[in-house]
Symmetry: C2
Subunit: 469 residues, 2 copies
């Protein structure tokens, strides 16, 4: 790792060039609630070595929170932001957008993918995320031929994480067919395809790439969707996988729900829950279109709902039944998916606002003890960590030190305290209140800026220029 | 006016200390579409003295757009941002939020209102708005006694505009009763109340305050709502008003729709359109809950729909039928209303995203010739100017020079051109891409910062500290 602590703002830490440092905060969100004058000690291994409160914090010390993971990203799609908002036909939809996306990815090189992924990760870290689940499906050359190194593209995602210091859960995607009728992959899809054998080798290569990262990197798998993976292949892939996270896109679009129901006699989430061993290792991405019984049954499995509120709004997917899912004890996290815009406050805000607009109500996801912002934030921390197989999500001894410090002088937080600090950030603020971020103890953002932003941005701009040629 | 040109970034202007200046832009959105190498000449009177294209722009010149007006603001509510997102009962709604708001405003002094309004205006200008329609209802002392100067509070809003240089359309609110049953004003509402005579005197005082502002300030009136103004009083107020803008809250909440329909046999917008001379001078704020015939009839009047997408999401109001309204030729503008968050890109994005989530479709408000972002942006410019009685909304000779320059180096705009520049700003960017803003020729924002931000923010923080005591 070439990460050195950047110049600090707000949060006071001691320890100089040593690996172990103390972070002092005037206020911190601990598992048992808000505490004042908290000192968090970072261990050499990137984990939290100790937490104590009551020490007098130095003047100017900020607000310390656990930093959530961004549980769903397709990094390369960041390069399409702003390019798909005109009409491409009489009625635009997810499917016309997907056609544009396929044309776009026809040209991406490994170098460009690494440059784009690094930029995305820098923006995520600056937004307050400590880790990312990269749902990675761009494996091969444009005509479908594997690269000499089968895991070349997975290696590029890992290389980007090495540059940025983000905590990476890499989820190589299994993509077998072009639709539930078993048709062959075509056009842009040819870059995604593998049979189960080649997928196993690709995952091995991806694991090897993760070995060059710090110990918090996690390997997982992502059967792309019920469209792209036939049931027997899905069952085999899951059985072969062992202990890591399993992510799958499901029930994002009503057309997909209708197609699965017509073909298999069950709705996608219903089918998944009755045929697969869905448990707390699983993350069901989107799960937008569920019936009330599906919502309750999914909540009972312990699987995480991988919500991507900004992308789901951008793609016109629909509104997740959040109130019912939380009521049933469900776990969720958030992801930036298409990366059309990368924000943490923005994702949580859009999640709640969509609920409010549907229900014509306020504070929909709040509970009796916690404000809307706190329910959203603690949900994203807990669910994101679980979905990524990451021992994190709370400020407690032994967990990875995934931390975010908010600038206590930020105007959006002026005069606020307790849960209202989170409400102020999420509903009245944006990423500009983020001062510092640590990912498994790596201090990657200081004074709101990633330490390698300039170099990463330069390479991203170069890649974008090449793509425009 | 004590406004001096701040240091420039990007947009090149000549003219030094003289009032007349040339603004050069590499790309500009003119009434006839996108143009390259555009020079806009500012007249001494704050109007655009000339527009020509084809001159070679200096290197680094940015993207020039008309700057829209923010057509609906209750400035003082900015002080509540982040403080109302916890549950106050079993089920939170607009009405529980309103109760909190009333309690809050019990304490506001004129000095605090001026400080808060100035902060709000600075944030609006930095977001890319050139003007604001302040729907101003906080007139009296907490117990309902008028201040010695009846228009004291209106004067404070005008004084804030004098400090910030924003274009002000001041809409003193007529608020007569506590509900359609004619009940008296209670609690926080006592600060709002006037009969028609006193309201006329208050409007005179407000006009006098506007005379101390530059010539682009506009007086209007705002009968608060059908709840707060009995029909005969509304008719008299409208008849007495003459030529300026008339704004009214209508059909924001289903409870209000039900109440009016039960009492008067017509839905609120329906009632307004059949009993009042609604025309292009009118701005119907929210108009969220309309039947399809109401949507079409409202569009035909030429009245502006005053949409407040972020606040309407925050308050759980519901989703405006934007696609049908535009299809019918309706005009809209946007406002930040409660000012829970002040953004221009954010309002337009939320407007479109709510449509997409409801319709499960993309690019809902785009048309065959213009991208989503351009339809949203040109709509907000044209509708906002009309609703505020402001001769602006496009870059054309003779109009007020309400202009915004985007930073051509902003990452959110990298590699984009034409309509996609607006899509990039609105869907992938935020206010950070705004470099310069002129309001009727006053260059108030440069390098993304308002020239008086530090002083204004200091006074705002002082006011917030006093309110917390």
């Amino acid at each position: 790792m070439d990460i050195r602590p950047p110049r600090r703002k707000g949060v006071q830490s001691r320890g100089g060039e040593e690996t172990v440092a103390d972070i002092h905060a005037s206020r911190a969100l601990l598992p048992e609630g808000w505490a004042r004058d908290v000192t968090v000690t970072l261990g050499e291994d990137g984990r939290i070595a100790g937490v104590r409160s009551g020490d007098r914090a130095p003047a100017g010390a900020d607000i310390l929170l656990p930093a959530p993971a961004n549980l769903h990203s397709h990094a390369f799609q960041r390069a399409m932001a702003g390019r798909t908002e005109a009409r491409s036909g009489a009625r635009d939809s997810f499917w016309t957008w997907r056609a544009l996306m396929y044309r776009f990815l026809d040209r991406l090189t490994p170098e460009q993918v690494e440059a784009i992924a690094a930029q995305v990760q820098v923006e995520m870290l600056e937004a307050g995320y400590a880790a990312v689940g990269e749902f990675h499906y761009l494996h091969h050359q444009p005509d479908g031929t594997p690269y000499d190194d089968l895991a070349e593209m997975s290696g590029r995602i890992a290389a980007a994480a090495r540059t940025t210091g983000i905590g990476l859960t890499l989820l190589p995607v299994l993509y077998v067919q072009g639709g539930i009728d078993g048709r062959a992959l075509e056009g842009g899809q040819r870059r995604f395809g593998n049979d189960l054998d080649r997928f196993a080798r690709l995952c091995e290569g991806a694991r090897a790439a993760l070995c060059r990262l710090p110990g918090d990197a996690v390997p997982g798998i992502a059967p792309h969707s019920l469209r792209a993976v036939p049931p027997p292949v899905l069952a085999d892939a899951v059985a072969a996988h062992g202990e890591g996270p399993i992510h799958i896109h499901v029930a994002e679009q009503t057309a997909e729900v209708d197609e699965i129901e017509a073909a298999w006699g069950a709705r996608p989430v219903e089918w998944l829950l009755t045929t697969q061993p869905v448990d707390a290792l699983w993350c069901l991405i989107h799960a937008t279109h569920m019936t009330p019984p599906e919502v309750e049954e999914m909540a009972a499995t312990g699987a995480t709902a991988g919500l991507c509120p900004v992308t789901e709004a951008n793609l016109g997917d629909g509104i997740f039944d959040g109130a019912r899912f939380l009521e049933a004890g469900g776990r969720f996290g958030v992801g930036s998916d298409s990366n059309v815009a990368i924000g943490l406050a923005a994702e949580l805000r859009q999640l709640e606002y969509s609920q409010r607009l549907r229900d014509r109500s306020r504070a929909v996801l709040a509970d009796a003890d916690r404000s809307t912002g706190r329910v959203l934030y603690e949900g994203a921390c807990g669910g994101g960590a679980r979905a990524l197989g990451r021992d994190a999500g709370a400020i407690r001894e032994g967990a990875w030190a995934d931390l975010v410090a908010l600038d206590g002088d930020a105007l959006a937080l002026a005069g606020l305290d307790g849960d209202a600090l989170l409400d102020g950030w999420i509903f009245a603020g944006d990423d500009r209140v983020v001062a510092d971020v640590w990912s498994a103890g790596r201090h990657v953002v200081g004074a709101g800026r990633h330490h390698a932003r300039d170099a990463v941005e330069r390479r991203f701009r170069d890649a974008m220029r090449q793509l425009a040629e």
